[in-house]
């Protein structure tokens, strides 16, 4: 009986998987396959499922325009189930078995790190859409999200100049992205003359739901007579209880503003934002951006999902940029061969959704504007500041000892992801 039950369970799971994974329609030789490597189950499904849909929409749009190189695009969706080693297996399956031309995927840094060796070994292409901690540049990966200098540093600058903040709480979830970002920010703040006792760093576990102590600590830290702000790298699920506690404890944005790097329109969807008006987020895109391109994008997205209230967010724009860059590079190279695309894509420029153009740089990061938005009571952000021009993503932070001498340039003849300008050698700071 047990066996029967387990078999049914496994059968159901398999059926569910097949239902989502089977591509329909055209024969293989007529199509170019695009791999989508986003978790559709497990803890990260909450964020990643949206990105899967976004890529599907982009592919559908492109096919409506006639595809690429006269061929239709075909999506291959796999579910790495928020399981980091499974990301590597699924990536291998996409490249080796499905022979996809490019992969759009990953959310957490750990999932990206897990697939890196696979893409390197099999010479695949990965477009990674998330803001991340930097300190990486890989030949086969294109980082379309923000590097720390495209999000964290301008955000802190804004608070210093506009809000006159002198005291800083760096609050984050305990993993690599917040830790590296906070290290960069700490060095940066100290270089701007902020004393060590004016910086409080606090980490919490994933999915932390009891924020009473930390919110009280923030309140206490903010009562030292200097203007205080919270820089939040709190990730995912933990944000909702955090903001609920902030709202209930009566911490107003006018007194202690919280600027977040991982809270977008999607995260606010499950929240009454009334008490949170004025708290901030730094991104490269907001749904509220008032441009024609964005209005069209939002409309297409709502039509595609069949949900008139569906929100868009920054990682979706990153996929939009990455996808269009890939299409352009393929058309320029006249082939989907990874080496040809890697050579062709540097310098490719596509329109972004905030009214400008984004370009792929030689370090495989892209140029983006930085927007600071304040939360509104309808769950949207309103841009209150933006950089005058585009910011080039910096793979290696200038504020970390190990990386300030490093640059990345994947064009020949340098073709190196961690060139040390001090020693004149490729291969990072130590090794």
């Amino acid at each position: 009986m047990t066996a029967a039950v387990l078999k049914t369970t496994a059968g159901l799971a398999l059926a569910a998987l097949l239902a989502t994974a089977t591509p329909q329609g055209l024969r293989a030789e007529d199509t170019i396959k695009i791999g989508i490597l986003h978790s559709l189950s497990g803890t990260m499904a909450i964020s990643e499922t949206t990105l899967k849909d976004a890529v599907l929409m982009l592919i559908e749009e492109q096919n409506r325009k006639g595809g690429v190189l006269g061929k239709k695009l075909e999506a291959v969706v796999v579910d790495p189930a928020s399981d980091w080693p499974l990301f590597a297996e699924k990536a291998r399956e996409l490249i080796e078995v499905e022979k996809v031309a490019a992969v759009f995927g990953c959310w957490t840094s750990v999932s990206r790190k897990s697939v890196l060796p696979v893409f390197e070994e099999l010479n695949g292409l990965l477009f990674y859409p998330l803001q991340y901690e930097g300190e990486e540049s890989q030949r086969n990966v294109f980082y379309t999200g923000a590097a720390p200098n495209q999000q964290a540093i301008p955000a802190v600058e804004y608070l210093m100049q506009e809000e006159g903040v002198e005291r800083w709480v760096l609050a984050g979830t305990d993993y690599v992205y917040p830790r590296t970002t906070n290290k960069i920010l700490e060095t940066y703040l100290k270089s701007k003359g902020v004393a060590a006792e004016d910086i409080m760093i606090s980490y919490t576990p994933f999915g932390h739901s009891d924020w009473q102590t930390i919110v009280a600590d923030i309140k206490a830290f903010g009562s030292a007579g200097k203007k205080t702000a919270v820089v939040s790298t709190i990730n995912g699920d933990a944000n909702v209880p955090f903001y609920k506690e902030l709202g209930n404890a009566g911490i107003k944005a006018e007194d202690i503003p919280v600027i977040a790097f991982s809270v977008g329109e999607e995260e606010l969807a499950g929240l009454d934002t009334g008490p949170l008006v004025g708290h901030l987020a730094a991104w490269n895109y907001f749904q509220s951006v008032d441009t024609e391109e964005n209005a069209a994008f939002v409309d297409t997205w709502r039509a595609f999902t069949g949900d008139g209230e569906r929100v868009t967010n920054d990682p979706m724009e990153a996929h939009y940029l990455g996808f269009n860059m890939w299409v352009k590079a393929v058309e320029k190279a006249g082939s989907t061969d990874p080496d040809a695309v890697i050579d062709a894509i540097v310098g490719v420029t596509v329109p972004n959704l905030s009214g400008g153009y984004s370009a792929m740089m030689p370090n495989h990061h892209i140029t983006k504007p930085v927007l600071i938005g304040e939360i509104q009571d309808d769950g949207q952000f309103e841009t209150v500041w933006e950089t005058p021009g585009l910011v080039v993503g910096d793979a290696w932070s200038d504020y970390l000892d190990g990386s300030k001498d490093l640059i990345a340039d994947w064009r020949p003849p340098m073709a190196c992801g961690n060139f040390n300008t001090a020693t004149g050698k490729c291969g990072g700071s130590g090794s």
Binding site: M1, T2, V5, L6, T9, A13, L40, S41, T43, A45, I46, T49, E157, Y158, Q161, E162, E163, Y203, T204, P205, G207, S209, D210, Q212, T213, I214, D217, A220, S223, A224, G225, D237, V240, K244, E245, N248, A249, G250, E254, E266, A269, G270, P275, V277, G347, G356, A359, M361, P362, T367, E374, D377, V384, T387, P388, G389, L390, V392, I407, R411
Partner: protein
């Protein structure tokens, strides 16, 4: 940094060059950029002016609301808010408040709330509320209905935090003589936060006519803050420090701390001493705060674990799908709220009350189905039960994800559960308080059901000695199913409560399953009182460790302690004794 690649178009090149100038944004790119330059402090200047004016106008302000006469200046000043950058709007807020007319209050409040809009056609300004298919317009001065407008016909007047601060200070000055004591209190608090040195005389006048003690105390504190910001005599400042020290809260500490850092030796010394006194009393309050936070965390743990105390504690079923019952309960609350919104709009506060029995029914039935469909075939095979229920939990999670989508769902907070109140120096949030009360009530109800009802008696009989109970004519399979249903139903009720403080997402249950098992094992399997005590002591231990060790380490330390404890007392805090143990 790099020589730009040849294919980069000109625009991108310029952009990259501009980017290197970051982060000192240059102006000349319209209002957006100008807004980011640090403007002078016109708000402070204007605030002074307005406070002087308020002084002149004195008590007549309160009566202004009723006066129907139209003031062209006021209307023009409100209309002017709609133009220009943030910095310009800030000047215009100051100009508006300098008129000293309390009739500007609704417009300013709407501006702070993002409800003030400009009609594109004629530039007129309205307070706007949502209506189906467009916006409902209200005149900001007369507060009369002014028709409707489509979404594209009006444009919101934007505000940022700096403007909100300016508006708050302005509202404080304008509402200082309002008839409602609550408004006067809010005004006093706003002036306290603004720390404007010109406010002293205005506050003196307000104090002279204040009759409510609580408001008077707030006015005294605001006056003390204003005195400390001014260049008044040392004696006055010294008295002001004492006033703030007596108030003793975080806001007062912030002001005294800024005085402690000034040059004036005598005052700084007094401020430092006062600060030390305040910190000592804060330290005492910190202990009270930790106990309260601990009880609150304990009540959440109790809520999550109480259903498991039945299914695992009493029945001995290792139910890995317990967390999903909590999750289903939260989703039931979401559904009930949606139905409520559709059927009886405006009564959303009661949706949560209706959701409680609904969640009990839904999750109870799901529980019975799981018991009948899976668990009864695995009787006395704990490993298989564990694996099968874990599979069930995955199916339920993915089912909910497919049905409701992977994103968070919003369960609104009823008005009686939002906000906080002050108890001494303790901020107690209503939702935590209600959850504590609710979890204890649920616990009491469960104890009563187990001890006082016939159903409770049969449950205890079956779990203690199944064969004997069967011999006495009890239908043990039915009791098994109902007991499992009861445990699951209670988990569902817990889910309704937890929807108030946590995400309503398919992952909701996962975060509670480990904690639930921890509590039940620590308290002693099979003992409901042990679950209560276990939850509360784990909560308090966690909250006392957290300030020293940080949230991550505190959790680890609690787990390590638990492992050691179980080594010493494998049956938990309150081990069952007697024959029940062997059964």
């Amino acid at each position: 940094m790099y020589p730009p690649p040849p294919t980069l178009p000109r625009a991108a090149l310029n952009a990259c060059a501009a980017a290197s100038a970051l982060p000192a944004p240059k102006s000349s790119r319209g209002p957006m950029i100008r807004a980011c330059l640090p403007p002078p402090a016109p708000a402070i200047l204007a605030l002074r002016a307005l406070l002087l004016l308020a002084l002149v106008l004195g008590a007549s302000l309160a009566g202004n609301q009723a006066r129907a006469g139209e003031s062209p200046d006021l209307r023009a000043a409100i209309a002017a808010l709609a133009k220009g950058s943030f910095a310009e709007t800030e000047k215009r807020i100051a100009a508006l408040t300098a008129l000293g007319d309390a009739r500007a209050v609704p417009a300013l409040e709407a501006l702070a709330g993002g409800d003030l809009y400009r009609r594109k056609a004629d530039g007129a300004v309205f307070i706007v509320s949502g209506a189906s298919g467009g916006y409902r317009l209200t005149d900001p001065l007369t507060l009369q209905d002014a028709g409707t407008a489509g979404r594209r016909e009006v444009k919101k007047i934007r505000v940022n935090n700096r403007l909100r601060r300016a508006i708050r200070a302005a509202l404080g000055a304008l509402t200082l003589s309002a008839s409602d004591p609550a408004r006067r209190l809010a005004a006093a608090e706003a002036i306290l936060k603004a720390r404007d040195k010109e406010a002293v005389e205005t506050l003196d006048r307000a104090l002279a006519r204040e009759t409510v003690a609580e408001v008077a105390a707030a006015l005294q504190a605001a006056r003390a803050a204003a005195v400390l910001a001014s260049d008044r005599s040392a004696e006055e400042k010294s008295a002001a420090i004492n006033v703030l020290a007596a108030r003793g809260d975080r806001e007062a500490m912030a002001i005294v701390a800024s005085i402690a850092a000034t040059e004036d030796q005598a005052l700084a010394g007094q401020a430092t001493a006062a600060l030390a006194r305040m910190e000592r009393s804060q330290a005492l309050w910190d202990v009270a705060r930790n106990i309260w936070y601990g009880l609150s965390l304990g009540s959440v743990l109790l809520l999550a674990a109480i259903g498991l105390a039945i299914t695992f504690g009493v029945m001995g079923v290792i139910n890995m799908a317990h967390g999903e019952m909590v999750m289903l309960g939260a989703y039931t609350a979401f559904m009930v709220q949606g139905l409520f919104g559709a059927l009886v709009p405006g009564q959303i506060d009661y949706a949560l009350v209706v959701a409680l029995p609904a969640a009990f029914l839904v999750t109870g039935l799901v529980g019975i189905a799981i018991e009948r469909g899976v668990i009864r075939f695995l009787h006395a095979r704990p490993l298989e039960t564990l694996l099968a229920t874990w599979g069930v939990s995955l199916i339920l999670q993915q089912g909910v994800r497919t049905l409701f989508g992977p994103t968070n769902r919003e369960v609104g907070t009823p008005s009686f559960m939002s906000g906080a109140f002050e108890l001494g120096q303790l901020t107690i949030t209503y939702n935590r308080l209600w959850i504590l009360v609710f979890s204890l009530a649920l616990f009491a109800a469960l104890i009563a059901a187990m001890k006082k009802t016939r159903f409770g008696l049969t449950i205890r009989a079956v779990t203690q000695n199944r064969r004997m109970a069967a011999s006495m004519g009890i239908r043990t399979p039915l009791v098994d199913a109902l007991t499992f249903g009861l445990g699951s139903g209670i988990a569902g009720i817990a889910g309704v409560a937890l929807s108030q403080i946590d995400n309503v997402s398919p992952n909701l249950g996962q975060s509670y399953i480990i904690d639930s098992f921890m509590v039940v094992v620590f308290g002693g399997v099979g003992n409901l009182w042990g679950t209560l005590l276990g939850a509360m002591s784990l909560g308090i231990a966690n909250k006392f460790l957290e300030p020293f060790a940080g949230a991550v380490l505190a959790k680890i330390l609690v787990l390590v302690f638990l492992i050691l404890f179980i080594q010493k007392r494998p049956r938990g805090l309150f081990a069952l004794k007697g024959r029940a143990v062997e059964a």
